[in-house]
Amino acid sequence: MAFFFIFYPVVMAALAALIPSDRWRPWLLPLAGTLHAVLTGCVLARQDPLSETAWLALDPLGKVILLVVSLLFLFCSYYAAGYLRLRGERPNRVFCVCLLAFLGVASLAAWSRHLGLQWVAIEATTLVTAPLIFFNRTQRSVEATWKYMVVCSVGIALALLGTFFLAYSALHAEHEASLMVHDLVQHAPKLSKPWLHAAFVLLLVGYGTKMGLAPMHTWKPDAYGEAPGVIGAILAGGVTSCAFLALLRAYHICVAAGEAPFVSRLLVFMGLFSMAVAGLFMVGQRDMKRMLAYSSVEHMGFLVLGLGLGAPALFGTLLHVVNNGLTKGILFLSAGNIHRAYNSKSTEQVSGAMRRLPLSGTLFLTGFLAITGSPPFGPFISEFMILNGAFAAGHAVVGALFLVLLLVVFIGMGAAVLKVVQGRPSSAARGTSYRDSLLTGAPMLGLLAVVVLIGVVLPAPLAALITDAVHFLEGQP
């Protein structure tokens, strides 16, 4: 099963490389996305016992991430087919091949129970997404791709060093050095403490770079700003979730080793710092997509903060991975449509999006309300749970800071979003040919439906999945 998950997207990527027609090739994306979603549904429905020795197995944490990646890719793949039809002037072979390969390596990241293999998978996500950021082939996209490659490669190299340190902490404890998650968690209390601490710091910095935590977030606004909207969605919801999974594994091992206070301090600090930096740069931001990038930095901050708060906030944190991924999908896809219709992503030139593009404009506004934690959307529930967790864990100051930063971001982001959606469109914008179509509109509605569903009823299977994952992290069977 695992092999199939990982190899069929790769085979389809090879197929995409062979198909000569730019018109038909993009249809492989929805095909792969639909198949992946169906398979994910089947795997999540089954309750297989977790194999302890297999390199590829799906534990509850992997299930959550696989679900996010699969759902987001499903909607994005239909959108991508519509997007590539609009961009008929550009060859899309590399685009399709890389996007399909991404699905394969992201699945590998979710399935791997071996930290070395997981590292390889996450490094591979950097490599396959770099050409996607470069799709427009402008000077600015060269710059963005270069920064993305250099910053993320260095980050991921540090994560490798951290992984080696982790293996050495086991070796030093005169155990067989192993990078299997199961072995490390089992022997966690006996791991050499100095090595474990050093390993966690390196892993946090390394995978934190890939997630885009401040101050290692510098690649993020550039990459999200220059990449097509659909790639922004994949990066903000898919790639970051995979990197967060790697961080979850490190957290799991450290907590099992009884090092929770040490890692908590680091995580809470990183989380608040990322939120503060994001808030700072979001106020007065004039570029829609860069604004979304800072929003992504902010939400990565939520995730590590929630992790740092520990048990009371874990459910909210894992739920927020799902909510953030899907809501970012709505925001990036609608921002991409607005960008296309106005030929600009600057809030000084874009106005009246609700008149010019009733669907995309409305969804952009709705996405903003959702991501900043307004009811009745999913992120409201998860952000509230993290906040609640902060007070429950006795971190009243952290909780208060969290609220203040939420408010700053709401005001900063709101000012920019309202400028975009309100008012009258300029005459230049009315002249462009783009109109919302089925393929570029429906995927956003699909994502919105899921986000509202989570916000209103929180489906029982999802709640069970996340409860499982929380128990798994806390080490209860």
Partner: protein
């Protein structure tokens, strides 16, 4: 055994300082190639017996780190007109001093980390940390894209040294994955280096300044 190993590691540390002190990009490439080739022989020194698998890994590492990647870099260098790193963020002599300081602090820091008995009298850990720091200095203080790529390679070399401590324990597959990733990363970076050159007619990353707040 540990004598020859330590003298090899001292040579690696000297090469670090040399890479920091030179302004000619071609000699940085040559230095890093030499360092890579030296490090390629590490598994031979660490293993008591020499098997086909070890020889294969050694040959592959030397070919990649010592020949193929430097070859790619030299080809990129030939296509552009820049030969020297001019005006780094901090001067070459100061970089060497900084590198030396880094090596000393690596020695001190490594003292805090307990070592398994079989590695107790080797310089592996301080050499690894010092090399990683050298890579960082090159990445941060140099502005030519090619020198930054070399900085990344030095960083990778440092990680490779540490990986050698685990060579007995880690499966071959992971080693292969690491090497493969190194190769692919450099390959993609090379393509981008070419693109930067085409798009900006320069490999100076300071030109890449359109995207900022």
């Amino acid at each position: 055994m540990s004598n020859s190993l330590n003298s090899l590691l001292v040579m690696v540390l000297m090469l670090n300082l040399f890479a920091l002190g030179t302004s000619r990009i071609s000699s940085v490439i040559r230095t890093v190639a030499m360092q890579g080739a030296l490090l390629g022989t590490l598994p031979l020194m660490l293993h008591g017996h020499i098997s086909i698998g070890v020889v294969f890994i050694v040959a592959l590492t030397i070919a990649l780190k010592g020949v193929i990647i430097p070859g790619m870099m030299n080809r990129a260098l030939r296509d552009i007109k820049i030969r020297r790193e001019v005006e780094p963020l901090i001067g070459f002599q100061s970089s060497v001093m900084l590198g030396a300081l880094g090596a000393i602090s690596a020695l001190l820091f490594a003292g805090l980390l307990p070592l398994a008995p079989q590695h107790a009298d080797t310089l592996m850990v301080p050499a690894a940390i010092a090399t990683v720091l050298t890579g960082f200095i090159l990445l941060i203080t140099r502005f030519k894209a090619l020198t930054q790529v070399m900085g990344y390679l030095v960083l990778e070399n440092g990680i490779y040294i540490f990986g050698m401590l685990l060579v007995d324990a880690m499966p071959l597959v992971v080693e292969m994955g690491v090497l493969l990733d190194l190769f692919v990363a450099i390959f993609v970076i090379c393509i981008i280096v070419n693109r930067i050159n085409q798009a900006f007619s320069s490999l100076d990353t300071r030109r890449l300044a359109a995207l900022k707040e």
